[in-house]
């Protein structure tokens, strides 16, 4: 946080926001919950890749696009499917399947005609800027509690870009560390 923001926060600090003393007076709150403050679940966007369900934090997702025409980028890294034009911004589209070793050969995607109907490009942003991820299908938004995530078991993969595993009922969500996955 910049010093400037800190100053703003201090300026807008409102003593009324400190509700600590009043919590004791509220009858519904049960003592065990108070001791361990309730963690709010976070939203993740789930999508499928080769039948497995993956998820990324929704805070990193900017939008979901139909597969646009892609332009191959010669001599670029192997996991780059191509370049897409999003309202004038030229952004790379990544293929995670090869990175996750789901397939041996990256799919050839030059336009929407090459892919199944459900396929989409998820536009994500991280420290390196915006980028698209090619996915087979969008599965929706899922709420997961961060502290209950499992550590992925060691499956002998070389460079692991899996941040953890989340469960909701029977469904298993594989969380992806975008920074690692797009490297």
């Amino acid at each position: 946080m910049s010093r400037f923001q800190e100053q703003l926060n201090r300026f807008f600090y409102d003593a009324d926001e400190q509700v600590g003393p009043f919590l004791d007076l509220a009858p519904e709150i049960d003592a065990s919950n108070l001791a361990l403050p309730q963690e709010t679940p976070e939203d993740f966007l789930a999508f499928s890749l080769e039948g497995e369900i993956y998820a990324v934090p929704i805070s990193q997702v900017r939008e979901i696009l139909k597969v646009p025409p892609l332009t191959e980028v010669p001599r670029a890294a192997g996991n780059i499917l191509g370049l897409m034009n999003v309202r004038g911004d030229m952004l790379p589209v990544y293929d995670l399947k090869r990175r996750l070793q789901l397939v041996d050969v990256a799919p050839v995607v030059r336009s929407a005609a090459d892919v199944p109907r459900g396929a989409r490009v998820v536009l994500v942003h991280d420290a390196q800027g915006d980028a698209g991820i090619f996915v087979d299908q969008i599965e929706g938004v899922v709420k997961l509690v961060l502290s209950r995530l499992e550590v992925a078991p060691n499956l002998g993969l070389e460079r692991n870009c899996i941040a953890g595993l989340g469960r909701k009922g029977d469904a298993l969500f594989i969380l992806i560390d975008l920074g690692l996955a797009l490297a």
């Binding site: 400037f4 332009t71 980028v73 010669p74 780059i80 004038g88 911004d89 420290a127 800027g129 915006d130």
Partner: protein, 687 residues
């Protein structure tokens, strides 16, 4: 990445501007040192430092505001004549500006540079010592001029100082009494001031101690001037009365120096030590992305938008007429009208494009000033005597280009100083003036801007260049025999070339002219060398006026479309597949008795190739060689807007960006020169 808060960006933009003005003014101050220093200039600098202090304090940037405060103090002392204007002071000021810039960069990027804080502290301390300075002379000349003590009591410290300066100059002091009507005294006072200014200095304006009648007000202007009273009276034409203040024999008082000669100088001489330097070896690019636009340019744009709206309503009306029931439209008349509107639309869009491009233009002086400041320091440190001449700062270029230019120009100037010009003694031995010349000038030439960086030094030694190039394995001895002088000179642009064996402090930091060339290529610019033995070297940079829109040749290879900027294309030839020949299994073609390498774009890009009967070959020049780049077909020329690729894709050699064509698909823009260069490096065996 969190966006910095808007207020901070605004602050950085404003602070950058203040620092730029400060830099310019300090240089002017340095130049005007020999003569009379314009008090207005000093005041301007002082005020700029003051606002910088205030601004940075507002944003809680302590170091910045502290240093700015010290600068302000020193300038205040200078303004009041408490400290002399000497080399040490100017150097400290210039250095402070650099540190202030670095501190501002920290604030803008929310990073910290090690050593910068302590450097700022040290500088602040130095300035503080300077600001205190030796106490002013004990003898106050003002005591000698018999000024009414009543008047003297109301003078501010600054006014007293100016008065003292005037007395020291030996000019007459006058009291100019003017009586103005209350209704318009402000205007008339200004007018009087303006009249007096050319003849001398208005030290102070005091409301008179003997006021006039009820409807008027009197002022006493304390005025120092070498012009006799009668002359002043005639010039101001009865607007006021003039009375001499000084005693009849106001001979200049014994010229006691206002400040004792600094026998025990304050420890301030800029013996800049090595660790301090490191902090400043940063880019000269500005921190702020802002472009200042004259409101009249925006008005012009607004007008065009208004006319576009008019055309839109015309088009709408045309569309409506076809929809109305019972109205039969004459297809021909309607078509003609539509065409007219389309033409008007095209014209207006052209104007709009031109207007927007104009708004992006900034004068080169923005960069030249920074370079001048840097050169001043470098020259002092180099021990060489150099006159640095700058011209053509008013030439305008696209803001993007101006920003990108600063580093290459800095590099060329460092080279000129370090490798180009000789030491004074050596120059004298050659019969040249001891003081060398380094020139930086710009001029517009049609659609291009030509910038020259020249020196009158020793020129480049092609024998030495040949030797080094062979030693480094850049060329074979055999190759060099066939080269002309110009080709030999161009070898210095090859990566890994640097003739100086010792790594110099100024320019030999592992990056060479190849970086300059690459940077320029990114701007679609060209660089050329004109070097004469013993006469000097001039680097000539040719740049397009704007980057935003360039003309490109659209080509197709294996069904993919690529854009090749036209300025990198020398010519286009068509060859039959049957005419291809091979040398050591590499394909070559013959163009007008020259054998050129033939490189297939499809193969370079590892695209599926299909046999063709005929290839279109784009001839590209690169340093001393030419190449033919083969494509399947040509799709014509287009005006394109090149968009940079995002961070992850930026470093692919040969691809400078992407653009969109009608179908909204991204089309890659090739940097043919870089592509060739990359392919021809020994380690790459793609061809």
């Amino acid at each position: 990445m969190p966006q910095p808060p808007r207020a901070l960006t605004d602050f950085v933009a404003e602070a950058t501007e203040i620092l730029e003005t400060l830099g310019r003014d300090v240089l002017t101050l340095d130049e005007s040192r020999s003569g009379e220093v314009d008090p207005d200039l000093l005041n301007g600098i002082f005020r700029a430092a003051h606002s910088l202090k205030g601004l940075s304090a507002m944003f809680g940037l302590e170091q910045l505001s502290k240093l700015a405060h010290r600068v302000e103090d020193v300038l205040d002392a200078l303004r009041l004549g408490k400290v002399p204007l000497d080399d040490a002071l100017i150097d400290s000021l210039v250095e402070s500006l650099e540190v202030l810039n670095a501190l501002l960069a920290e604030a803008a990027h929310e990073t910290t540079t090690p050593g910068l804080a302590s450097r700022g502290e040290a500088l602040a301390e130095r300035l503080r010592v300077m600001g205190e300075g030796p106490v002013a002379a004990a003898v106050d000349v003002l005591d000698h001029i018999g000024l009414d003590p009543q008047i003297r009591a109301v003078f501010t410290e600054y006014e007293e100082h100016r008065l003292r300066e005037n007395v020291k100059k030996g000019v007459q002091l006058y009291k100019v009494r003017a009586v103005f009507s209350l209704s318009d005294f402000d205007q008339r006072l200004n007018a009087l001031n303006a009249t007096l200014k050319p003849m001398g200095e208005v030290v102070s304006t005091l409301p008179s101690t003997q006021p006039g009648d009820e409807s008027s007000i009197a002022f006493d202007l304390i005025f120092g001037s070498a012009v006799p009273a009668t002359k002043i009276e005639s010039t101001i034409a009865g607007a006021a009365t003039v009375e001499s203040l000084t005693r009849a024999l106001a001979a200049p008082p014994p010229s006691a120096p206002a400040w004792p000669t600094p026998s025990a100088p304050v420890p301030l001489h800029p013996q800049t030590s090595a660790p301090q330097r490191g902090v400043l070896e940063q880019s000269l690019r500005s921190l702020s992305q802002t472009v200042r636009v004259d409101i009249s340019r925006l008005d012009g744009l607004m007008n065009i938008v208004g006319e576009l709206l008019l055309i839109r309503s015309n088009l709408q009306r045309l569309a409506e007429t076809t929809k109305q029931p019972g109205v039969t439209v004459m297809p021909k008349a309607w078509g003609n009208e539509l065409q007219r509107e389309a033409r008007a639309l095209e014209r207006k869009l052209d104007e709009l494009q031109k207007g927007v491009l104009d708004a992006r233009m900034v004068p080169l002086v923005q960069v030249f000033d920074k370079l001048a400041r840097l050169m001043r320091r470098l020259v002092r440190e180099s021990g060489k005597l150099v006159d640095f001449e700058v011209a053509g700062g008013d030439v305008e270029l696209d803001k993007l280009i101006v920003e990108e230019l600063s580093d290459p120009l800095m590099h060329l100037l460092r080279n000129a100083l370090d490798h180009g010009v000789e030491l004074p003694d050596s120059r004298e031995a050659q019969g040249k003036a001891r003081k060398a010349k380094i020139r930086l000038n710009a001029r517009q030439q049609g659609n291009q801007v030509v910038i020259e960086v020249g020196d009158d030094g020793n020129g480049m030694d092609e024998a030495r260049i040949r030797q080094v190039a062979i030693e480094r394995g850049l060329v074979t001895a055999q190759q060099t025999y066939e080269m002309e002088r110009r080709d030999l000179l161009n070898l210095v642009f090859l990566p890994g070339f640097s003739t100086r064996t010792d790594v110099s402090e100024l320019s030999g930091r592992g990056v060479g002219l190849d970086v300059v060339k690459t940077n320029l290529a990114r701007l679609s610019g060209l660089i050329d060398i004109d070097s004469r033995r013993r006469r000097g070297t001039t680097f000539v940079l040719t740049l397009p006026l704007t980057l935003a829109i360039i003309r490109a040749l659209m080509v197709e290879a294996s069904g993919r479309t690529y854009a090749v900027p036209l300025n990198s294309v020398l010519e286009i030839v068509s060859v039959r597949a049957a005419d291809l020949q091979t040398i050591e299994r590499r394909e070559v073609i013959e163009v007008r008795d020259h054998t050129l390498p033939f490189i297939r774009l499809s193969r370079v890009f590892a695209l599926p190739e299909k046999p063709m009967e005929r290839y279109f070959v784009i001839i590209v020049g690169l340093a001393q060689q030419r190449f033919g780049l083969a494509v399947d077909s040509l799709l014509g020329q287009h005006d394109i807007v090149t968009k940079p690729l995002s961070g992850r894709l930026r470093d692919i050699p040969g691809i400078s960006g992407a653009t969109e064509l009608g179908d909204r698909r991204a089309v890659l823009v090739l940097d043919v020169g870089a592509l060739m260069e990359d392919l021809l490096r020994p380690q790459s065996a793609v061809i």
